[in-house]
C-alpha cells in the first residue's frame, strides 16, 4: 500500500507538467434577459472522456428544449450554458465556480468520473449550489448539494457480481480487477473485496491492478489476465473499471489475443454502448455491463426517447451518433426533468427550496422504471439492468430488477 501511495504522490506531482487541454466557456447569448433561467453543463468535449461525456451536453439541451416547448419552468425559458473542462479534473472545479458565480446558473449538471465530482464538490458546497451527477459511482458520499441521479454500488455493481457468481451467470470464483488509477475504481474494488471476503472467498482468488487514466497499451496486462485465468480455482472473470478511451483499447487487445467471453467474461462497469462504436463486437459477444438504463430497454417511453434523440441529432447537427443512447444520457435527461419538476413544485429557483421540493418526486424514466427521489437524502431510486454485449455494438438485457431498490450510500463492505 505504501508503494502505491508513493507512486501516486509522484504521479500527482508529474501531472502538473502535462499541457492542459483547451476549454472554452460559451458565453450565454442572453445573459441579461430576465425571462430565462440558466442551467450549467460540466461535461468534457475534449480529452480522454470526450467521446462519451460530450453527448451529455446535447442531451441536457434536448431536455431543456422539451421543457421550453411546454412553456418553460415558472414561466421562464430554460437556457443551457455548456463548458469544456477538457477531461482535466481541477478544471471542472474552476469552470464549476465560474458557472455558479458568474453565470449564476440555477443548477449544474456535470461530471462523469468520480475524481471530477470530488473536485467540484467543495465548490458546490461552499456556494450552496446544486450539482446533478448522472453516473453510477462508488457511493461513500452524501452531500446535500449533489443529486445522485444514478446508483451507488449496492444497486448496480453488487447485483451484477452476484449474478456472475450464481449458477446462471457462470459461477465466477476468481476475479481480476483492472481499473484506472483514481477514486472510483479503488473504492469499488475495496467494497468488492469486502463483499467477497464475506462470501468466504479467499484473497488468493482475486488480483487488483491499476493503470494511469488514458492508458492505452494493454498487452502486458492482458497477458497477465490470461495467466491468472488459466490457474486453478474456478471460473475467472475480469471486473473492469478503466474509463474513457482505455475501454475500447482494452477490448481491442482482448480480441487480438483471442480471448472469448466464454472463457473470461469481462464485467465492464463503465462500459457503455458508445465505447464500442469503433469496434467489431462479434468476437466480444457475451461481455457484460450493469447500468440503470440500457438502450434495449423495452417499452414505449424508451422508443420515444430514442426517436426524440435521433430527431434532435438530425435537427441540430450534433456530432454524435443518432442511434446510440447510453445510461448517463438518460440520467442527465431525467435530471433536467427532475430539476424542472422540483422548481415548479417549490415555486422558486432557490437551491434550498428546490432541494426541499425534490423529496419524493417521481419521474417516468425512459428505462421503463418510475424513478423517484428518496426523502431522507438526495439519491434517486433507479432500476438495475445487467447487459450482455451483442454483435451490433449494443447490450442485450440479461437480467433486470423487478423494481427500483433503495439506494444505500454507505457500503457495509467498505471496512471489512
Amino acid at each position: 500500500m505504501k508503494r502505491r501511495n508513493f507512486v501516486k504522490g509522484l504521479l500527482t506531482a508529474g501531472a502538473g507538467s502535462v499541457i492542459a487541454s483547451p476549454w472554452v466557456a460559451r458565453k450565454a447569448v442572453a445573459a441579461s434577459n430576465s425571462g430565462t433561467v440558466k442551467l450549467g453543463c460540466l461535461f468534457s468535449s475534449s480529452g480522454t472522456m470526450a467521446n462519451i461525456e460530450g453527448r451529455l451536453n446535447y442531451v441536457a439541451q434536448m431536455a431543456a428544449e422539451e421543457i421550453n416547448a411546454k412553456g418553460g419552468v415558472l414561466g421562464k425559458t430554460v437556457e443551457v450554458v455548456t463548458t469544456d473542462p477538457g477531461s482535466d479534473w481541477p478544471l471542472y472545479a474552476q469552470l464549476g465556480r465560474q458557472l455558479i458565480q458568474q453565470e449564476e446558473v440555477a443548477a449544474t449538471f456535470g461530471c462523469w468520473t468520480s475524481v471530477s465530482r470530488k473536485s467540484v464538490l467543495p465548490v458546490v458546497e461552499q456556494n450552496d449550489a446544486l450539482l446533478y451527477y448522472p453516473l453510477h459511482f462508488e457511493g461513500e458520499e452524501n452531500s446535500k448539494n449533489v443529486v445522485y441521479l444514478n446508483s451507488p454500488p449496492s444497486s448496480s455493481v453488487l447485483p451484477a457480481v452476484e449474478y456472475l457468481m450464481g449458477d446462471e451467470g457462470g459461477s465466477a470464483r476468481r476475479f481480476f480487477m483492472l481499473g484506472s488509477d483514481y477514486v472510483w475504481p479503488r473504492t469499488i474494488n475495496q467494497q468488492l473485496k469486502g463483499y467477497w471476503a464475506e462470501q468466504g472467498i479467499e484473497p488468493e482468488a482475486w488480483r487488483e491492478e491499476y493503470v494511469p487514466v488514458g492508458h492505452s497499451n494493454f498487452q502486458t496486462l492482458i497477458n497477465e489476465i490470461r495467466e491468472f485465468a488459466n490457474q486453478p480455482g474456478g471460473q475467472p472473470i475480469v471486473v473492469l473499471t478503466v474509463v474513457g478511451n482505455s475501454i475500447p483499447d482494452f477490448f481491442r487487445e482482448f480480441i487480438n489475443q483471442g480471448i472469448s467471453a466464454f472463457d473470461i467474461p469481462v464485467l465492464g462497469l463503465d462500459a457503455v454502448e458508445a465505447d464500442f462504436e469503433g469496434l467489431d463486437t462479434a468476437p466480444l459477444v457475451g461481455h457484460l455491463n450493469c447500468w440503470a438504463y440500457l438502450q434495449n430497454a423495452a417499452g414505449p417511453r424508451n422508443e420515444e426517447f430514442l426517436s426524440n434523440w435521433s430527431n434532435y441529432v438530425a435537427a441540430n447537427d450534433v456530432p454524435f451518433s443518432p442511434n446510440v443512447a447510453i445510461d448517463p444520457m438518460v440520467s442527465t435527461y431525467d435530471g433536467v426533468h427532475l430539476w424542472a419538476m422540483a422548481a415548479e413544485k417549490a415555486g422558486s429557483f432557490g437551491v434550498p427550496d428546490v432541494r426541499d421540493a425534490s423529496a419524493g418526486l417521481t419521474f417516468a424514466c425512459p428505462s421503463g422504471y418510475d424513478i423517484s427521489m428518496t426523502s431522507e437524502n438526495t439519491y434517486v431510486k433507479r432500476g438495475v439492468f445487467i447487459g450482455s454485449l451483442n454483435e451490433n455494438q449494443g447490450f442485450d438485457i440479461l437480467w433486470q430488477s423487478p423494481d427500483t431498490p433503495e439506494p444505500v450510500p454507505f457500503s457495509p463492505y467498505m471496512n471489512s
Binding site: 507512486v7 470526450a50 483471442g258
Partner: protein, 538 residues
C-alpha cells in the same frame, strides 16, 4: 414452484444420462429435448444441449441436421418458447421447433429462452460437433474439429469415437484422435490416462498444465504420475520460453509505437530544431486520411477493402505532408530564429487542427475495418500470442526507419538536409536552396507522422484528441536518442519500450511510467546530449 421444477429437471438429467450410453438413435424424442431447452433451468438446458450434440451419432441422419438447426436457433435467439409451444423464427415466418412444420402462432408473443455465457459456450461447442457429422467437405470438418479442440464443453469420448469411425480424412482424424485421447483423463484404464496426459501436453499452455496438475492430485498409478510429472516439466519449459518471447514482443511492439510517433519529430525537431507541438495532430491527420481512404474504397471498390491500409500509405503520407507544408509556408518559416514563438504557434496550430476535425467530423471514435492481416494473432510457444496489429506496426516501423535512413544518407535531398542542419550559411554559400530544403524537410517529417497515424490506427482509438497522447512520448524518445540521430531515436524507443514492459508486471502500469520517466531524467542529467551526440556545429 421454482424449486420443484429444478428437481424435476435434475431427475430428467439423470434419466437421460442413463439412457444416453445404450441408445444409438436419438435418446429422447424431439419434443422432450425442446421442452428442456425451453425450461429456463440451467441444468436441464445443459443436458439438452448435450443430447443435441449426441444427435450427431444417430443412425437417422436427419436427426443431426435437425439438432444443428435447434442449436443454432438457440444460440442466435431465434428459438422462441412459451405457453407450451416452441417456434423458430425465420424470414418466411415461424416454424415449429420439433417438427419444422409452419406454425400460425405469433412468434412475437413468445420469448427466447435465457442464454447465459456457459450455455452459449456449450451451444457453440455442440454446433461444431454437429458440423463434424453433417459437413460433406473435409476442410469444413477440419475447421469444426479445430473449433471443438478449443471449445470442448459438449465433447464426450463416445461422440468423438463415433465421429472417428465415420471420418476418412487423415488430417481430421489426427485432430480428433488427439482430442479424444485428451478427454480420457479420468478413464479407468491407466494406459488411456497416460495417453490423455501426453495428448494434452502437446499444446503447452498454462491451462493444460493446470488440467494435468489437477488430475495428478487424485492419481494413484505410478506410471501415470511419472507421465504427468514429465508432461508438466516439458510444459513449464515451453511456458518459460513463451514468457520471455512474449515480453520481448510486447517491448518491441511498444517500441515500434514510440518510434513511429517520434520518427517525424526526429527530423523536424532533431534535424531542424523546430519544437513542433502539432506533431501529434499530424499523426491524427494521417489516421483520418486512412479512414477517408477506407470509406472511399468501401463505396467505390468494395473488393479491395481489405487492402485499404496498404493503399492508404501514400495518401496518409501526402495528407500529413501537405498540412505540414502549409504550416511551414504560412507560419513556421517566419519563426525559425524565434524558437519560443514556434512553440506557441505550433501549439495553436495543434488546437486549430483538433477543433477543426471535431467540428467537421465529430469527436467520436472512428470505426476502422480490420482486415485479416491486422486482426487476431498466432499462438506461437506456450502462452505467447503474436498479435497481428502489433506485428503490422513493427513491420511499418522497421520499413520506415530503413527508408528514412537511406534517404538521409544516400540521396541528394538527404545530403542537402544534413548540410543545412550542420551549417546553414555554408550550405547556402555552396548553392543549396536552404529555404526549399527546410520546406521539404518539414513536409517529410510531417508525412512520416501521417504514416504513423496509419500504422497506429489498428492499435489505438482514432479521434480528434488522439495526437495529444503521443507528443510527450515522442519528445522523450527524440531527446533521449540524441537530437538529430535517427538510430539514437530507434534505440531510445526500444530501450523505453523494453524497460516499460519489464517493470509493468512487477510494479504495475503506473509505476512503470514513473520509473521510465525517472530513468530518462537521470540519464539526461548524466548525458545531456542523449545516446548519440550529433557531430557538427549547432
Amino acid at each position: 414452484m421454482a424449486r420443484r421444477r429444478v428437481d424435476f429437471g435434475h431427475l430428467l438429467v439423470s434419466f437421460i444420462l442413463l439412457c444416453a450410453a445404450s441408445l444409438p438413435a436419438l435418446a429422447q424424442d424431439r419434443g422432450t429435448i425442446i421442452a428442456e431447452i425451453c425450461s429456463g433451468d440451467f441444468g436441464a438446458q445443459q443436458s439438452a444441449l448435450g443430447q443435441l450434440a449426441a444427435a450427431g451419432m444417430s443412425e437417422d441422419s436427419s436427426d443431426a441436421t435437425w439438432a444443428r438447426r435447434i442449436v443454432e436457433a438457440f444460440e442466435g435467439r431465434e428459438l422462441r418458447c412459451g405457453n407450451g409451444v416452441a417456434l423458430i423464427t425465420t424470414e418466411d415466418g415461424a416454424v415449429q421447433a420439433a417438427s419444422m412444420e409452419p406454425s400460425d402462432v405469433d412468434a412475437e408473443t413468445l420469448a427466447p429462452p435465457s442464454v447465459n455465457l456457459r450455455l452459449r459456450a456449450t451451444a457453440a461447442s455442440a454446433a461444431a460437433i454437429l458440423r463434424l457429422f453433417i459437413e460433406e467437405d473435409a476442410a469444413n470438418r477440419l475447421s469444426a474439429a479445430n473449433y471443438i479442440d478449443r471449445r470442448r464443453e459438449a465433447a464426450t469420448a463416445p461422440i468423438l469415437s463415433a465421429a472417428l469411425e465415420r471420418e476418412n480424412d487423415a488430417e481430421v482424424r489426427a485432430v480428433l484422435s488427439t482430442l479424444r485421447a485428451s478427454l480420457l483423463l479420468e478413464d479407468p484404464d491407466p494406459a488411456n490416462r497416460i495417453a490423455a496426459v501426453e495428448a494434452i501436453a502437446q499444446d503447452a499452455t498454462l491451462r493444460n498444465r493446470t488440467t494435468i496438475a489437477e488430475a495428478m492430485r487424485d492419481e494413484s498409478d505410478a506410471d501415470v504420475l511419472a507421465a504427468g510429472d514429465a508432461a508438466i516439466a516439458s510444459i513449464d519449459r515451453m511456458l518459460q520460453v513463451g514468457k520471455i518471447l512474449s515480453t520481448l514482443y510486447s517491448g518491441a511492439s511498444y517500441a515500434s509505437v514510440l518510434f513511429l510517433a517520434a520518427l517525424g519529430l526526429a527530423i523536424i525537431f532533431g534535424l531542424m530544431g523546430v519544437i513542433n507541438l502539432a506533431q501529434g495532430e499530424l499523426i491524427m491527420v494521417g489516421a483520418y486520411a486512412a479512414w477517408f481512404t477506407q470509406e472511399a474504397i468501401r463505396t467505390a471498390l468494395p473488393a479491395l477493402l481489405d487492402y485499404y491500409l496498404i493503399i492508404a500509405i501514400p495518401i496518409s503520407f501526402m495528407a500529413a505532408a501537405l498540412v505540414g507544408l502549409l504550416m511551414e509556408v504560412i507560419v513556421i518559416r517566419r519563426l525559425y530564429d524565434r524558437p519560443l514563438m514556434t512553440l506557441l504557434a505550433t501549439w495553436a496550430i495543434s488546437l486549430l487542427l483538433i477543433n477543426t476535425v471535431r467540428v467537421t467530423i465529430g469527436s467520436q471514435n472512428l470505426e476502422f475495418h480490420q482486415p485479416y492481416y491486422v486482426s487476431g494473432g498466432f499462438p506461437l510457444v506456450g502462452d505467447f500470442i503474436m498479435t497481428s496489429n502489433r506485428l503490422f506496426a513493427i513491420v511499418v516501423a522497421i520499413c520506415a526507419c530503413v527508408t528514412v535512413v537511406v534517404l538521409l544518407r544516400r540521396s541528394l535531398f538527404g545530403m542537402n538536409i544534413r548540410a543545412v542542419t550542420q551549417n546553414r550559411a555554408m550550405a547556402g554559400a555552396a548553392g543549396i536552396d536552404t529555404r526549399r530544403t527546410d520546406m521539404m524537410a518539414f513536409s517529410l517529417g510531417s508525412g512520416l507522422a501521417g504514416l504513423a497515424g496509419l500504422a497506429l490506427s489498428p492499435l489505438y482509438n482514432v479521434n480528434p484528441g488522439m495526437g495529444t497522447g503521443f507528443i510527450v512520448d515522442s519528445f522523450m524518445v527524440v531527446v533521449l536518442g540524441g537530437v538529430g540521430s535517427l538510430i539514437g531515436a530507434a534505440l531510445a524507443a526500444i530501450g523505453i519500450g523494453q524497460i516499460n514492459v519489464i517493470v509493468e508486471p512487477i510494479y504495475g502500469a503506473v509505476a512503470a511510467k514513473v520509473f521510465v520517466l525517472l530513468l530518462v531524467i537521470v540519464f539526461i542529467q548524466w548525458r545531456p546530449e542523449g545516446l548519440f551526440a550529433p557531430k557538427g556545429r549547432r
